[in-house]
Amino acid sequence: MLQLVGKRLVQMILIMITVSVLLFLSFEADKLNVASKVLSQYSTLDQRLIWLENNGYNRPMPVRYFEWVWNAMRGDFGESIQFATPVSKLLKEHLLNTAVLGGLVFFITVSISLVLGVLSGIAEGSSRDRGITVLAVLTTSIPEFASATILVAIFVFWLDWLPGTSPFTNGLNWNDVNQLVLPVMVLVIYNFGYYTRMTRASMAEVMTSQYVRTAILKGLPHGRVIKRHALRNALIAPFTVMILQLNYLLSGVIVTEVFFSYKGFGKLLYEAAMFGDIYVIEACAMVAVFIAVMSQLISDIGYTYLNPRIRFS
């Protein structure tokens, strides 16, 4: 187990290093481009050259790269061009908002999909199973920005129940909690289908296994067979997949944040991309990859821990 974790850690570090090199090369290999982004496109060549000299950009590239990585590891990602504030400060605020949205979505999605997946998996081929499967395919086919459009049409314009944007101008607080409803709904609708199908597949597989059949033939009550014998084994695979899927969830969160003007990580990255705020883009991409790689690690460790066949081998 320890060996596996060690191997994964090494792989994770290698991926982070490669990603950082790629990001650095894509955004900072061309010095003049950096200067024109920072000083705006209307600056003169002389101004740009002076800026480059003053900010140490004329040193060799490896030196600049290591300095960048060293600063990034200490949480210093430079200063945002667009907002003229330290990138780390921006990141902290926006990541917190995204964590609230993402956490809520993850919790609700997992609850719904476990229930639906188990309900459809224990009765494979029944009309309930088919209904749930079709519903899952239907909802995963509607991309976030399309379902957001449709939901806004229904709940904002037609029923007039909810606000159409979620800017949280007074910061996150309980009075504005209705602003969170639509973004959460959009993300849950898009994501629960895949989780449900994973759970269903795993449950259906376990239900046909020998030990479940034995338990049923032994005369145990049906509910007890499901709770004690089937569920525990069936939830290992979906659990790890759900954590792995955090990566995709983050993608969806970005779109939803842009759609509802929710001040989160995704909106920060999107606005930086539109503005050409390279330090913010670099920082956001590094953080996103870090989250993704960490979730992969946690999912691996979780799988090993939950699955005794691997744990004790």
Partner: protein, 317 residues
């Protein structure tokens, strides 16, 4: 040996068209798959024959006929079945021509990403060793990015206003649409090919142990022959299902880029861009947003249901 089999041989497998008909006939057994196929065929038909349909010019802007609701005629008594957008362009025509734009770029992007992913996967799986390690590592690096983050990074670093974009415009003489289109294809290839490679590699690792591969190796066939003639055709079942799903994702991605104004340049109709155009008008833009949202959902739904139906059938035998 050959004499014996010639007499007792089963009837020759139907060839070409006949086999295609048989496969389509199989699909009929799955209602879900059939429904998906109908949806997909509808949009493909529209995309191919949109020029022949009695539609208005999707780019013609009519003054005084902006943002008409659906089923209204403008001052010149031209009927707008789905209304018009904020520049007085006919929504129905834009939606139908948009199908061509979306399907053209998404099919092209999927084909490119799939080809590269298959080459990566089949060589990594068959050759193994250090080559496999390298390919898998490259794949893991790009899969570590949430997809949209990767797209945003690629398009901001190498977008139309970057040096690559300027080089493509000036040196290759491509127009704006082609520059944006090829950048979209590059971005989608980076995010999709590793996923395809991973799937193909998994299948190839399984197929590699089969007897007919050993037989081909003993016959002295070249690795290229084994990969192209023995491995890939036998991996086609799961790959066709995956390609359907993948095309759906690519369509979502392209529309998404349009929605984020990072996609194809205006004025060509692009479903994602149409939604974001409508969004800035709030309630009044609802008509402009709903139609493209329904169009993209129905197309992706069609592909997902088709993939589901195909999988169901392939699992049956």
């Amino acid at each position: 040996m050959s004499d014996v089999t010639a007499e007792t041989a089963a009837p020759a497998p139907p060839t070409g068209l006949k086999r295609l008909w048989k496969s389509i006939g199989l699909l009929r057994e799955s209602y879900v798959g059939m429904f998906g196929a109908v949806l997909v065929c509808f949009w493909v038909f529209i995309a191919v024959f949109v020029d022949l349909l009695p539609l208005q010019d999707p780019l013609a802007q009519t003054r005084g006929a902006q943002m008409l609701p659906m089923l209204t005629a403008d001052a010149k008594d031209v009927m707008h079945w789905m209304g018009t957008d904020d520049r007085g362009r006919d929504m129905l025509a834009r939606l139908m021509y948009g199908a061509r734009v979306v399907l053209f770029w998404s099919v092209l992007a999927t084909v490119v990403a799939y080809s590269i992913g298959m080459i990566m996967g089949v060589t990594a799986g068959y050759r193994g060793g250090w080559w496999d390690e390298i390919i898998s590592f490259i794949g893991n690096v790009f899969l570590a990015f949430p997809q949209i983050v990767l797209l945003l990074v690629i398009i901001t670093a190498f977008g139309p206003s970057s040096q690559l974009g300027i080089w493509m415009t000036n040196e290759l003489g491509l127009d704006k649409t082609l520059v944006s289109g090829s950048l979209i294809i590059i971005a989608i290839t980076f995010s999709t090919a590793p996923q395809v490679a991973r799937i193909v590699r998994g299948i190839v690792l399984d197929l590699k142990t089969r007897d007919y591969i050993a037989a081909a190796e003993v016959r002295g066939e070249s690795p290229l022959y084994i990969m192209l003639v023995e491995l890939l055709p036998n991996a086609r079942g799961p790959l066709i299902v995956d390609a359907c799903l993948r095309l759906g994702y690519v369509i979502i991605t392209i529309a998404l880029l349009g929605f984020l104004s990072l996609g194809l340049p205006p004025p060509d109709p692009d479903w994602g861009k149409m939604i974001s155009d409508g969004r800035q008008w709030g309630y009044n833009g609802l008509n402009m947003m709903l139609w493209p949202a329904l169009a993209i959902s129905s197309l992706v739904l069609g592909l997902n249901l088709l993939a589901d139906g195909l999988r169901e059938i392939s699992l049956r035998d």
